[in-house]
Symmetry: C2
Subunit: 370 residues, 2 copies
Amino acid sequence: MSDVITQGPTQMLDALREAKRPAYVCTIASSETAAIEGLSIAGASAEMRRYTPPADMECLFYGRARSIPGIAATPDGIPSPVIITMAALGLTKLPVFVVDAGCEVPPQTPYFRVGDRPADSILSGRSVANAAELYERGWHLGEQLARVTDYLLLAESVPAGTTTALAVMLALGLDAHGKVSSTMIGGANELKRQTVESAFKAADIQPGSLAADPIKAIELVGDPMQPVVAGMALAASREVPVMLAGGTQMAAVAAVIAALRAADPNAAAGADRLCIGTTRWILDDTTADLLDLARQVGEMPVFAADLDFGKARYPGMHPYQAGLVKEGVGAGGSAICALSYGGVSKAALMERIEGVYAETVLPMLAGNVA
Amino acid sequence: MSDVITQGPTQMLDALREAKRPAYVCTIASSETAAIEGLSIAGASAEMRRYTPPADMECLFYGRARSIPGIAATPDGIPSPVIITMAALGLTKLPVFVVDAGCEVPPQTPYFRVGDRPADSILSGRSVANAAELYERGWHLGEQLARVTDYLLLAESVPAGTTTALAVMLALGLDAHGKVSSTMIGGANELKRQTVESAFKAADIQPGSLAADPIKAIELVGDPMQPVVAGMALAASREVPVMLAGGTQMAAVAAVIAALRAADPNAAAGADRLCIGTTRWILDDTTADLLDLARQVGEMPVFAADLDFGKARYPGMHPYQAGLVKEGVGAGGSAICALSYGGVSKAALMERIEGVYAETVLPMLAGNVA
């Protein structure tokens, strides 16, 4: 399928094409790390970033957000990647499940509640005090979800999640500096490096010192999405294929999974039923290296939807092609699902994304959104 | 199938036998109504009743409660009907989903959060202020659940739920006095009548005065489970068969559904894809009349698992046969599912229930539960 770029074996992509009832599950969380100036633009301001995860989920259920007007956007008004997810899920009619791992503002949708608090800043050196509990809850949820689907897409919406991804991967001993993506062009890599260094000092850990204790790594410098998705993926992949639908944030989840598997042979059963699904913009990001991270976590296959917003009908979409936003809310994985399982052409998917843009963003630009 | 007693057409029972992937969904809630002395014994004391819904859900996930020691029980130590549900779901490996419609104490399991507060007492005349929102959330959840299952069992665990059931059915104009069951023998019918009369006075309504506005009836004198399950059932039954798994509390949900359908032709699509599934002890209850209530809400078919605890190995189970507890946590519906879909014999089901009793209740009786 030329509309999906692949690295590694393609069985997981074939399995998605042949799936009978795939399901989409998005885990959301918030963290004080997102309040660090300059780290995240997943939201129009630090205040608005609190609403980005619930707003994304509301868009999936109602076609627009409820916690904020219209739809989440960057300070420059570039819309959340949820427009891609909305288009892809709308075309495929996938069941949508929301998992709240710890949000400051809960979504105004039905959702699984597995966490009851947002994360502290990683600068505290103890960002996710309930990491072990979140992992256990995620595991039990994944076990149940595997009974109702034959292919699970696990997405995320976590502002500043690439910084916590970097921190956890470094704590686990990965060569990750300069390899995580960002909503921003250039990736704010230097600021991320400094932030993670401060966090490691506060937590009193070194790169690699928690290689054998990934849940501890999350507890100290991670975010609440990571243990929940790792638990769901481990439990579910014993039974069904699981796509980690995201960019370098999902590389961190994959690293956690690999470390848990190394520690517990019982968890290794689903090793060949995991992959990462993302967008081509993540692969194009010269200030990051998802493919190398995927290699480091046990040669996990990576698939990327070959989206092209360069000739999009609406100029407001062009910044994606320049490398802004790029991924989130499982945009890439949902698009891959539409292109494979859904049998949707790239042109038809693009037309629907433009349609969603017209329905959600144009009214905002015109000031017609309450 | 002689192990299931039937009233009305049996297509819904045949559909369950032939289902490929049924799912069990239990909606829990708490209400200040349960604090009224003498109304409920679903818990060892008024204080302990706060923990009955979460404890029931924890038993389904972990084999025992976490919020309280062991398992919920009446003041006399008769165990929650969850022992039947645990046995039946264990034998059939059904996926288990928990829906929190508004619990004072949230369960220590993964759960869908659709409500954020317990109900006030119906004596306030405004027990479920967020009833309309709960209905909408339930509807959206039912829509998603229908995409991952081909037969939905909707259960409940709501202390004092038969009193709120009575109140809502009366508000909708049903002839319901003396027809709802209870955890207790005799049903506390006179106390329920007085409580509902006081509630109607506080709400300034008359029997039948809200026949055209069932959500309003719940808002004034209902409980949070009712709008959530009604919404889920209406949305899901457009696509898949739905069993309301419970006793007379589910008759109230059926009454709400019938009233909503009468008001909205769009909601009527799934009219023939609904039934009630319960235990024979509910049908045997001479102080109640589920079958008549089911007739009043549009001839809804009723199925009852022909359970018999009279010769159970453990004397602690015998009170069920005498008419105590009888139903709850979808015990009857789960048992029907094991006997039909699961192909389990009545003897094998009984043996497993005794096994669950031995694993959960005997250690409590021996004082070996922390």
